[in-house]
């Protein structure tokens, strides 16, 4: 247990020591999105009855920032340790693949929650945001950021260079987040894109998360929960298997 706790503490310290870059900067980015989109889209139809576009946007943006930062946390930590070689310090001790997985994913969730709270607090200054069910909010926040934390481990293991990681981020993570209904309700999309969105697990994370605030969603919250939970489980199992096999860590 001490080994796991030490690794977790190190992973949390790693982003906390540079919180300006790892927490404040993404919150600022989200605020810019919020200001610009809220302004440009102010005349657009409200997604749900009785909810303004601004209100609709804030939870989606918070979730998007959480997902991106959970991914960034594990993937950048791993690639940095691999490139500098100090990954050695955690490969030599008797840490298990569970220790590894747990410490990295929990640290990613911690950073994601810090960023999410930051966006939410700023959002409160700009619009009234109801809380329909705090339980769902927390469940989706944790499952979503945990899933992206696990995905970040996989990407960090796979990549040898920063640009490979950037490619993963730009060609996988960004399209999935942008096409998930952060900025719009998918009901406003043409049929083809509506259908396509239903194959995007990010859509369910954001839809379920938004349900926690408004009690309204594009699909049933239970479906969102099942899809998100299943995706989290599958990615976690894949991550654990890769860590256990020593993929790209112990040649």
């Amino acid at each position: 247990m001490i080994g796991f706790r030490t690794l977790l503490y190190k992973e949390v310290l790693r982003f906390w020591k540079v919180a300006f870059q790892t927490i404040a900067a993404p919150v600022l980015t989200a605020i810019l999105y919020l200001l610009i989109f809220a302004h440009v889209m102010s005349n657009s139809n409200a997604a749900f009855d009785g909810i303004s576009y601004e209100q609709f946007l804030i939870p989606g943006l918070a979730m998007m920032s959480m997902l991106q930062n959970a991914f960034a946390n594990t993937s950048s930590s791993l690639i940095q340790s691999k490139i500098t070689g100090n990954i050695l310090f955690i490969l030599l001790p008797p840490l298990t693949h569970w220790n590894f997985y747990g410490a990295y994913v929990i640290a990613a969730i911690a950073r994601a929650l810090a960023v999410g709270c930051g966006v939410f607090v700023v959002g409160l200054l700009m619009a009234h945001i109801p809380v329909h069910n705090l339980g769902w909010i927390i469940v989706f926040a944790i499952l979503g950021s945990g899933m992206l934390g696990a995905l970040g481990i996989i990407a960090g293991l796979w990549a040898d260079k920063f640009d490979q990681l950037a490619a993963f981020q730009n060609f996988v993570i960004m399209p999935l987040t942008f096409l998930s209904g952060v900025f719009y309700s998918i009901h406003s999309l043409p049929t083809f894109w509506q259908t396509a969105s239903h194959f995007n697990p990010f859509f369910y994370m954001i839809d379920g998360f938004r349900y926690g605030f408004f009690g309204k969603s594009d699909v049933s919250v239970w479906i969102s929960f099942s899809v998100t939970g299943l995706a989290f489980l599958c990615l976690s199992l894949a991550t654990l298997a890769l860590l256990k096999s020593g993929y790209r860590l112990r040649q």
């Binding site: 001490i2 030490t6 690794l7 190190k10 070689g85 050695l88 490969l91 030599l92 008797p94 112990r250």
Partner: protein, 302 residues
């Protein structure tokens, strides 16, 4: 597994593509030994150490640390092993003390007064006390290497492996480092080291293995290797020619210098007596001791 074997390596093979970096290496190091693994660059020493540490997986064969298989029983194997890597690596986020506290934590050692006292002792022994609170980035290469030594020892492993620990460390600190490692060995720690300084290996190690192209080409006690491959030599400089009676015993001649292989000092007495009897005056005389460099060159040349 015999209980007294600290490191046991059995028929280990490892290839990188078509390159056979380890070509069936077997090696046992007993508890309490001071063992040297020598060989030219690219012989496979670091690869062997990596497979022992679990940083790399052998294609075939098995490795044990204190009787624990490094793959199937990796936790006790890693707990028993302290590795000083060849390459200097560090975490720029941390100070020297933080680095050591984290490393201890990964090995399951709780923070507290007893750990801090041990860290202070390690730093003092490695002449790093005044650097304890410096960030790793502010240290010179030699200092970083000594931090790596401290990191390897922070969980008090019974088996310590040092991969070229003195590369880039200046002479004075090299002495300090070896004195410390020797003390650890006297306290019962098993030491395995690789080095390019053969005189260090000769002075420190009781047993030596030499590797070449992924194979062990010689392995014996230091004394036996020196006796088998190297000899004491008596060199005399004479004005006159060598008496006939001694000519067959001569191993080499260059100008006025004549060279004889000797086993012990009685041989020297005898040779000198024969020269005196023949009435040959000795201008100069040298006796050279066997050295590991000669052994190394002969073994590698084979």
């Amino acid at each position: 597994m015999p209980a007294k074997t600290a490191i046991s390596i059995k028929n280990v093979e490892k290839s990188f593509g078509s390159l056979r970096a380890l070509d069936g290496v077997s090696l046992d190091v007993e508890e309490g030994e001071f063992f040297a693994l020598l060989g030219p660059n690219g012989a496979g020493k670091t690869t062997l150490i990596s497979t022992l540490a679990g940083l790399s997986r052998a294609d075939a064969g098995q490795l044990f640390v204190m009787g624990h298989d490094v793959v199937s029983d990796y936790q006790p194997a890693r707990l028993a092993l302290g590795i000083v890597p060849q390459e200097i690596v560090f975490d720029p986020f941390f100070s020297v003390r933080e680095t050591l506290r984290f490393q201890a934590g990964y090995f399951g050692i709780a923070r507290g007064a007893s750990l801090d006292a041990w860290i202070d002792e390690l730093l003092a022994n490695l002449s790093l006390s005044d650097k304890a609170d410096k960030n790793m980035r502010q240290l010179s290469g030699g200092m970083k290497r000594r931090v790596l030594v401290a990191q390897a020892l922070v969980h008090r492993p019974p088996v310590i492996v040092l991969d070229e620990p003195t590369a880039g460390v200046d002479v004075e600190l090299r002495q300090t480092l070896w004195a410390f490692i020797r003390r650890l060995n006297e306290q019962g720690h098993t030491i395995l080291l690789t080095t390019h300084y053969l005189e260090e290996a000769q002075q420190l190690c009781s047993r030596i293995a030499m590797m070449k192209a992924g194979r062990i080409v010689a392995m014996d006690s230091t004394a036996n290797l020196l006796n088998a491959f190297s000899e004491r030599v008596l060199k005399v400089m004479l004005h006159e020619s060598l008496p006939e009676s001694l000519a067959q015993r001569r191993t080499k001649q260059s100008g006025a210098w004549h060279q004889f292989a000797i086993h012990d000092y009685a041989d020297v007495e005898q040779l000198l007596a024969q020269l005196r009897e023949a009435g040959v005056a000795i201008e100069r005389l040298e006796v050279s001791e066997p050295d590991l460099e000669e052994v190394f060159l002969k073994v590698m040349g084979k």
